[in-house]
Subunit: 213 residues, 2 copies
C-alpha cells in the first residue's frame, strides 16, 4: 500500500518508519520539502530511513492511497483525494496559553470532524491520538491490555484501519469502535488528562484501558 504521512514531527516520522518497516511505500508530506531537509532533526532521520520519500503536501496526498494526518490541522490539498482514507492521528493542540496546551477546536467540534467537513470526499478515521507515538506503532511497549479508539463514518474505511492497527500489533479486542466521526470529540478531549498523567507519572509509557468494556 502507498501511504502519505502528512507531518514531519516525531509522530509523523514514527508512524512513517513503522509503515516502512511493514513493507509499505511511504512518502512524508510537508509544506516546504527544502526547508524540512534543512533541519538536522529531519535530515538525520532521513539518513536512517532513505527509502521514505519527502514531497509537498499536495504531491504526497495525490500519490498516497491512504493518507495519515499527523499535523495539527488543515494543511492538506483537496485535489485528487476523493474516496481516499484519511487516518487522523493528531490532536488540535492550542499553545496560545502556554504549556500544558489546550485544544482548539474543543467540546462542540473536533479536528476529526473539521477534516471530514473540509474534505467531504475523504473518508476520515480518527484513531491512535490518545497515546504516545511509540505506543501507536508498538502497543506491546505497555504491558497488559489497553485500548485504541476508532471514530469515523465509513465502515469500510474503519475496517481497513483496523487491519492497519492489527499490523502495528493491536489485537482485535483492543480496538473500540466509538461510532461516527463526532465521537472524535471524546478522544481528543483525553489529551488534557494524558498530559497531566505524564507529569504525575514522569513517563509516557502508559495508555488508557477501559476496564469492564
Amino acid at each position: 500500500m502507498r501511504y502519505a504521512v502528512l507531518g514531519t514531527g516525531i509522530v509523523g516520522r514514527t508512524v512513517a518508519a513503522r509503515l516502512d518497516s511493514l513493507g509499505h511505500r511511504v512518502v512524508i508530506g510537508t509544506r516546504d520539502p527544502g526547508a524540512t531537509l534543512g533541519r538536522a532533526e529531519y535530515s538525520d532521520w532521513q539518513e536512517v530511513h532513505p527509502e521514505v520519500g519527502l514531497a509537498g503536501f499536495a504531491e504526497a496526498a495525490r500519490d498516497g492511497e491512504v493518507l495519515v494526518n499527523a499535523t495539527g490541522g488543515q494543511e492538506a490539498d483537496a485535489a485528487h483525494l476523493d474516496g481516499k482514507i484519511l487516518i487522523d492521528i493528531a490532536n488540535p493542540l492550542d499553545f496560545s496559553r502556554g504549556f500544558p496546551p489546550g485544544l482548539d477546536p474543543v467540546d462542540d467540534d473536533s479536528l476529526g470532524e473539521l477534516l471530514q467537513r473540509t474534505f467531504p470526499g475523504l473518508r476520515v478515521v480518527k484513531t491512535l491520538n490518545t497515546m504516545n507515538c511509540q505506543i501507536m506503532v508498538d502497543p506491546a511497549r505497555v504491558a497488559g491490555e489497553h485500548h485504541v479508539f476508532v471514530s469515523g463514518e465509513d465502515a469500510d474505511a474503519k475496517k481497513a484501519v483496523r487491519e492497519l492497527l492489527h499490523s502495528f500489533g493491536w489485537p482485535e479486542a483492543s480496538v473500540i469502535d466509538l461510532g461516527g466521526i463526532e465521537t472524535a470529540r471524546g478522544t481528543e478531549m483525553l489529551l488534557p488528562v494524558w498530559l497531566r498523567l505524564m507529569s504525575a507519572l514522569g513517563h509516557t509509557d502508559f495508555n488508557f484501558h477501559i476496564q469492564g468494556a
Copy 2:
C-alpha cells in the same frame, strides 16, 4: 464524621447512602427542601434512608465537617465554610446543545477550579467524577484494576479524601494523585469520551484504567 452532600440527584443520593452505610452522619443539601420532598423520586428514596437528613444548602454546609459537591455548580453558601474540605465529584454538564452534553467551563478552566476560586477558604478536592455513581461507592462492580483520580491544592485534604476512598473500597494503588486543582480540567474532560463509551458499550459498568501507570 458529619458529611453534607450537596445535590439530590442520583449521584448525591448514591454517595449519601454509602456514607450513611459506613456510619457517618449525612445531611443532603438542596435549594428548597420542601420542593425536594415533593418529588416522588426523592421521597421514595428518603423512606429507605430515613436517617439521612435534608436541609437547605447553607444549613447543610454549615453543619457538615466535610462537604461533597454533587451539583453542576455554584449553589453553596460561603458562610461558615473556612477550612472545610469540599469533595467535588461533579462535572459541569452543558445541555444547551442537547444530548450528549458538552462541558462549561472547559479546556481553560474547570468546575473544580471555579469552586476553589469562589470559596478560597475551602479545600477543594476533585475526585470520583470520571465514572458512574454506582462504581464511585463500590469499585468492585468493575472486575480488575481501575483508577480514581485526585486533584487538589491541600495535601492533608487529599489524604483525608484518600481515606474516604479506601472506605468506599478503592485500594491504595488505584488512586492517582494528578497534582493541583488545575488538573481537574483533565478529569472533567474525560466526560465526553465516557458518554460515547456508554453509547458504544451499551452499559455504564466500566471505568478508566491507566495501563502502565
